[in-house]
Symmetry: C2
Subunit: 405 residues, 2 copies
């Protein structure tokens, strides 16, 4: 009995989410039970719109699959849509099933983060309740590494490698002058500091890259921050500081939020600035030394030219795992990585009930945080394997060649 | 007769300035007339302080020289010191000559941009007037590509390759959603838009990367900018815009400067923001669509993992040329590149009187600017050869290995 497969991508882009599609497609190619491989454009939104394209044909060569795995962001497009429950919004679920019937879909793999796993949870429950012959599986993806029930998430290792490399290079840059200065680099992560912690890997290349690390899991104290800088300046003039975009004070307010001036910009809106910009001003005002705030912005999640080979390989394996389980009749689960050992680094691919992953955030445990301004050796042991290996860029005219449907 | 050589680096870091040191050192290694190779720490400031170190010894292996060429920023440290004339400040010149005598320096090569070439000009004239047996030469360096009398400058090609790659990746990122949005990326360059223009190379990888390009050489009009966006949104929802940090209105005011609210921050200082942040607010307020401002900041000048092989090779050759001329008895000149042909790309290494390079800025000619919001084919023909080829990164523990004295 042949049936069709549907894959879709959701949430923020990463350097690894396309590799997961590769893993799913490769697994499907050798199955006797899958006929056409469809991709929905813009995630579940595209399913609701009936915007499905045949992706098996353009991906039927090894070269195309490899090119896709090297391409950043989401080749199928993405969406940010948190679905209501079937009770609140039955029409959307009926519409999805209608589209599934129209395209003969019996297997659906959704690649994404927290919100996407919530969609997998709700849709798999709906399908089970209706007694439909459809398997709904999740494949994890988020640079934030904040999904539970998996050792880490695809996209994180590549973002971590970008961050480590960039901190090493910025340290080289700022250390050329012989006066006291502070460079504050803001890294993504509202509640989980994994990406900011990854900056510590730059120390494997150059001392003091970064000198101090501030995570959202530990209350941020401005006075202590200034004392930390004065202490660190005793041995290093060119301080480099990693700070998570989500650092909060002891009352849970985002840093800078409570002390904002309330001033409005030329358009009458309140000034809203990132933590790097705020701390730059704080250092200049309180310590009187040169300070610069840098925001890594989108570059940290789409820099596939710095992808981690470990990350890209695992992302493919998790896609393969998700479809493998679906072919075994499993539904309502998420593919996951279990770490067996850090040194040597060995893993096992498994799947977990989607309830364990959806809507839960994994933050950094206290044992990995040092003095509120650094990470421990345990964190480095955890991080190191995830950035190993490189994915050769294919260059065309001096710029990277990407895949496009 | 043996004599000693002194090299020093000045101005902002680049991915190529260390390669120029390599070229100088390699040329010195086969000369029968040079004994010890010294490097001054922190440029001419280190000369004044007598902080000279023997760099010939740590660079006496091919491996060390290769590692140095792959390392970003300035391995000898840098400074930003514009020297006064010998008439205004005779003591500094007397001090430099004293240090030269102390260390037996007869050849001095200074690697840097506009201000550094001004130092070469003043010092070479001083030395000539005093009839001293010292050759003072300049080797160009600036990511801004704004030095006259040379087709382009070391550091520019690598920064251009970083910018092209990053624009291609950001375009992949922003195009995943199916709603109208504008992403504005601010690129370095106060008066010369060469780096911003280099974003156009990303189109060799992906359409619309960027959609619009605004250079400081052309007056910026906010109303026209908003009309450009509305026009471009008709065919592309996910607009990517390159804007130089130095764009100015018809009156010569930096964009956003004249329309600032005058508001003060929590520390009582006026809000000063970059053009990307200002234009993000302008687009949100006037067009009501999603907008994001991104600043490439230091990353664009220190990303040696994305260095252009052409740039690194030419940087070495210019260092070699500078010393070669000095050994021939030339003083008061700057090594330069003359382009013979763009396709195939061929060049000739030469040297020019330092007066032609010092204190002059080379901006983009009108023939390379299209409609005030793009570049012409002539610009692409100029840029393409400069980003060709890659410099293999040497990885250690998943992060790039750098050289350190």
């Amino acid at each position: 009995m042949m049936a069709n497969l549907l894959v879709a991508q959701s949430g923020g882009p990463t350097a690894a989410i396309n590799a997961t599609i590769c893993g799913i497609v490769k697994r499907a190619m050798t199955s006797t039970r899958i006929d056409t491989i469809y991709g929905a454009q813009n995630g579940i939104k595209g399913v609701l719109d009936g915007r499905l394209i045949d992706i098996g044909k353009p991906l039927s060569s090894p070269e195309a699959l490899e090119a896709l795995a090297r391409t950043p962001a989401a080749a199928l497009g993405s969406c940010r849509l948190k679905m209501k429950s079937p009770e609140q919004d039955p029409a959307s679920y009926e519409r999805i099933i209608e589209v599934f019937r129209q395209f003969g879909i019996e297997y659906f793999v959704y690649v994404g983060g927290n919100d996407s796993m919530d969609t997998v949870l709700k849709l798999s429950q709906y399908v089970a309740q209706k007694g439909l012959n459809i398997r709904v599986m999740g494949a994890p993806k988020t640079i934030d590494n904040d999904l539970c029930a998996t050792d880490h998430t695809p996209g994180f290792g590549s973002a971590a490698k970008y961050i480590a490399t960039t901190f090493a290079e910025i340290k080289r840059d700022v250390m050329v002058y012989d006066y006291e200065a502070v460079t504050i680099v803001e890294v993504m992560g509202r509640n989980a500091g994994w990406l900011t912690a990854a900056s510590s890997l730059a120390r494997l290349s150059v001392l003091g890259a970064p000198n101090l690390i501030y995570l959202p899991e530990h209350p941020f104290d401005e006075e202590q921050f200034l004392r930390d800088i004065q202490q660190a300046h005793k041995t290093d003039k060119a301080l480099l500081i990693a700070v998570s975009e989500g650092v909060k004070d002891a009352q849970g307010n985002y840093v800078g939020e409570s002390s904002k001036s309330g001033a409005v910009d030329a358009f009458g809106h309140k000034y809203l600035e990132g933590v790097a910009g705020y701390l730059e001003k704080l250092v200049k005002a309180k310590l009187g030394c040169k300070a610069r705030g840098i925001t890594l912005n989108l570059m940290q999640r789409c820099a596939s030219h710095l992808a981690s080979a470990t990350d890209i390989a695992e992302s493919q394996m998790l896609g393969q795992t998700a479809l493998d389980r679906a072919l075994d009749g499993v539904s309502g689960q998420m593919a996951a990585i279990e770490r067996l050992s850090s040194n040597p680094y060995t893993v096992r691919y498994t799947s977990v009930p989607i309830e364990l992953a959806a809507n839960e955030e994994k933050t950094i445990p206290a044992s990995m945080i040092k003095n509120g301004n650094d990470v421990t050796e345990e964190m480095l042991t955890y991080l190191k394997p995830l950035v190993q290996g490189e994915v050769p860029v294919v260059w065309s005219n001096g710029v990277p060649a990407h895949f496009q449907f």
